[in-house]
Symmetry: C2
Subunit: 338 residues, 2 copies
C-alpha cells in the first residue's frame, strides 16, 4: 500500500501535468505544492511510484507523467467530482430551456457539453427500448400503401412505409388504428410484441395479410431503432490536444465517425453511475490515448440513454465529471417536463 504522502505526490503530479502538459520534476513539484519535504525525498517517492507503474518517464532524465494506472488511482481515490458553481448551473439551465423539440434538446446538449468541458461531446438520443409508445398513426397514401408513424413518450417520431399485399380500405385502417392504439398506447416497447400478437385474428380474412404486414413493420421499427443514434460536437477541441497531433487526432476522428464504435463505447459504460474509461481501458484502439467520461440520463429517475465526453487522458477529471453530471441532470429534467 502506498503511504499517504506518496498518494499526495501522485495527486500533485497529475494536477501539474494536466495544467502544464509537461513532464513534472521533483524540484518543480516541491516548489508548487507545499508537501513539506525536500526534492530528494520526492524523488524517492517518485521512484517508488514508478516501480508500481503509476507514473513513467518519457525518457531518462526527464520529469514524470502519470500512466493510465496513475490516472485510474487518481480518479478512484484522490479526486472528487467538482460541482458546478451556481452561475454555471444557471447558464446550463438557461441554455437548455429554449429547446423546441428532441433534436433541439440533443443538439443544445452537445454544444453545451463541448463548451463546458472544451472537449468532444457525445450525446445519445433517448433510447426507444426503455421508452413507451405514445401513439401509433396509420395513414393511407395509396390504396395499397400505408405510412406508419410511431410517436414515443420522449418526443421521438419514426415513420415507415408499408406496401400492403392487398388494398386496404379506410374503415379497416381506422379500425386497425383504434385497436392498435388501445393496446399499445402507454406501453413499453418491450411489451408490444405480445400485446399485438393476436390482432390479425380480429380482422376479416382478406385484411389479415395487410394487418400482419403492418404489425411486423411496427415490430421491425422497434427493433431496428434500438440501434440508436447519437450526436457529436466540439471536434474542433481536438486541436488542443498535443503538438504531436496528426497521429493522435486521426484515429479519434475516425472513431467519432463510426457511430457503431461510439455506441458500443457508451453501451459498455455503467447504466447508473458515472463511468470513466482511461486510455487503454477503452476497447477501441483508436481511443487508446483518450479518456471517456460518460453517464446515463433520462426523464424520470431512470436512465434512457447516455452522454459523455471524449478527451485526452490528460484531462481535468474532477471538472469534466462535474460538468457531465450536471448536464445529464438538467437534460433529464427537460425531458421529464416535455
Amino acid at each position: 500500500m502506498l503511504s499517504e504522502r506518496r498518494l499526495e505526490v501522485l495527486r500533485a503530479i497529475v494536477q501539474d501535468y494536466v495544467g502544464t502538459e509537461e513532464p513534472v520534476g521533483s524540484k518543480a513539484l516541491t516548489e508548487r505544492h507545499s508537501l513539506g519535504v525536500s526534492p530528494a525525498t520526492v524523488r524517492n517517492d517518485m521512484a517508488a511510484l514508478e516501480d508500481e507503474g503509476y507514473i513513467a518517464q518519457p525518457h531518462t532524465s526527464a520529469g514524470r507523467i502519470p500512466t493510465d494506472k496513475g490516472y485510474r488511482l487518481f480518479v478512484d481515490k484522490l479526486a472528487g467530482v467538482k460541482p458546478m458553481t451556481a452561475p454555471e448551473r444557471r447558464a446550463i439551465q438557461n441554455f437548455l430551456d429554449g429547446a423546441v423539440d428532441l433534436d433541439d434538446v440533443v443538439g443544445r446538449t452537445v454544444r453545451l457539453l463541448a463548451q463546458l468541458t472544451r472537449q468532444v461531446a457525445v450525446v445519445q438520443y433517448p433510447s426507444l427500448t426503455r421508452s413507451t409508445v405514445r401513439h401509433v398513426e396509420l395513414l393511407s397514401l395509396a390504396p395499397a400503401r400505408v405510412m406508419l408513424v410511431l410517436i414515443t413518450d420522449t418526443g421521438r417520431v419514426e415513420q415507415r412505409m408499408v406496401d400492403c399485399p392487398a388494398p386496404f380500405g379506410e374503415t379497416s385502417l381506422a379500425d386497425l388504428r383504434a385497436r392498435l392504439n388501445s393496446r399499445v398506447a402507454g406501453r413499453r416497447f418491450a411489451d408490444v410484441p405480445q400485446l399485438v400478437q393476436d390482432l390479425p385474428e380480429a380482422f376479416e380474412a382478406e385484411d389479415r395479410g395487410t394487418v400482419s404486414t403492418v404489425l411486423s413493420t411496427l415490430l421491425e421499427t422497434l427493433v431496428e431503432e434500438t440501434e440508436e443514434r447519437l450526436m457529436i460536437g466540439g471536434t474542433a477541441n481536438l486541436t488542443r490536444f498535443g503538438h504531436d497531433f496528426p497521429l493522435t487526432i486521426r484515429p479519434v476522428l475516425e472513431a467519432l465517425e463510426e457511430q457503431v464504435v461510439l455506441l458500443k463505447l457508451l453501451g459498455e459504460a455503467s447504466d447508473s453511475g458515472m463511468t470513466v474509461r482511461i486510455g487503454h481501458e477503452n476497447a477501441y484502439e483508436g481511443l487508446n490515448s483518450t479518456s471517456v467520461v460518460s453517464v446515463g440520463y433520462g426523464s424520470g429517475g431512470e436512465a434512457v440513454a447516455k452522454l459523455g465526453v471524449v478527451g485526452p487522458t490528460r484531462m481535468d477529471y474532477p471538472g469534466t465529471m462535474g460538468a457531465v453530471r450536471a448536464v445529464a441532470r438538467y437534460v433529464g429534467q427537460i425531458l421529464a417536463e416535455s
Copy 2:
C-alpha cells in the same frame, strides 16, 4: 491573354502540385510533361504567369505553387469534369440502393461522398421550401393537446405539439384533418398559407381559436424548417491536409460545426450547375484555404437541396467534381423513386 503554351504550363503546374504537394520547378516540369520546350523557356513562362498572379513562390528560389486565381483559371478553362468509371458508377448505385429512409439516404450519401473524394462531405437534407405536402396528420393526445405531423414528398416528417386554447373534440379534429388534407395535399409549401387562410370560418365559433392555433403552428413549421439541416462526414480526411495543420484544421473544424456557416456556404452556390469556390472566394474566413465543390440535387429534374465537399484548395478538381456530380445524380434518382 495568355498564350496556349502558358496555359499548358499552368495546367502542368496545377497537376503536379496537386499530385506531389510540393512547389514545382521548371526542370521537373519539363521532365514530367512533354511540353516540347526547355526549362529556360518554361522559366520565362512561369515569370509571366507569376506577374499575372496565377502562381506564386512560397519563398525565393523555390518552385511555384498555384494561387487561388490560378486554380480558378484551371477550373474554368483547363480542366474538364472527370466522369466516373462504370464500376464506380455501379458501386455508387449499389451503395445508395439499400437505404431505408431519408436519414439513411443522407447518411449513406455523406459517407459515400467522403470516401470517393477522400475529403469532407456535406449533404443538405432535402429542403421543405420546394417540396410538396404529402399529408398532414392531427392526433389528439389530450383534450386540449394536439400533435401535428407533416409528411413531405421527400419522405421527411416533422412534428409539433399544439396546445389548444379550448378542448377540441374528436369529430372536429377529424373534420379539420379531412379539410386540411383535401386543400394542401400535393401542394407546394409556398402555396399553403393562401390555401388554408379561410379555413377557420368553416368551423363553429368555439373551435375557431383552436383551428387558428393549429394552422399557425403548421405555417410556422413550414417557415422554421426552411432553416435546413445537414449532415457532414469524412472529417478524418482533414488530417491528410498539410503537415502544418493545427493552424489549418482548426478553423475548418470550427466552421463545420457551425451549421449556419455551412448552410450559408451552400446557399451562396448556384442553384443549377456545379459551383466551385476556391480559397478566398469563400466568404467565411476559416475556409480561406479550402475549396468547396457543390451542386444541387433533387427528385425529379429540380434541385431541392445541395451537397458537396470541402477540401484543400490543392485538390483534384476534375475528379472531385466528377464524384460530386455523379453522387448528386444518383441521390436524385433514389429520392424520385421513394
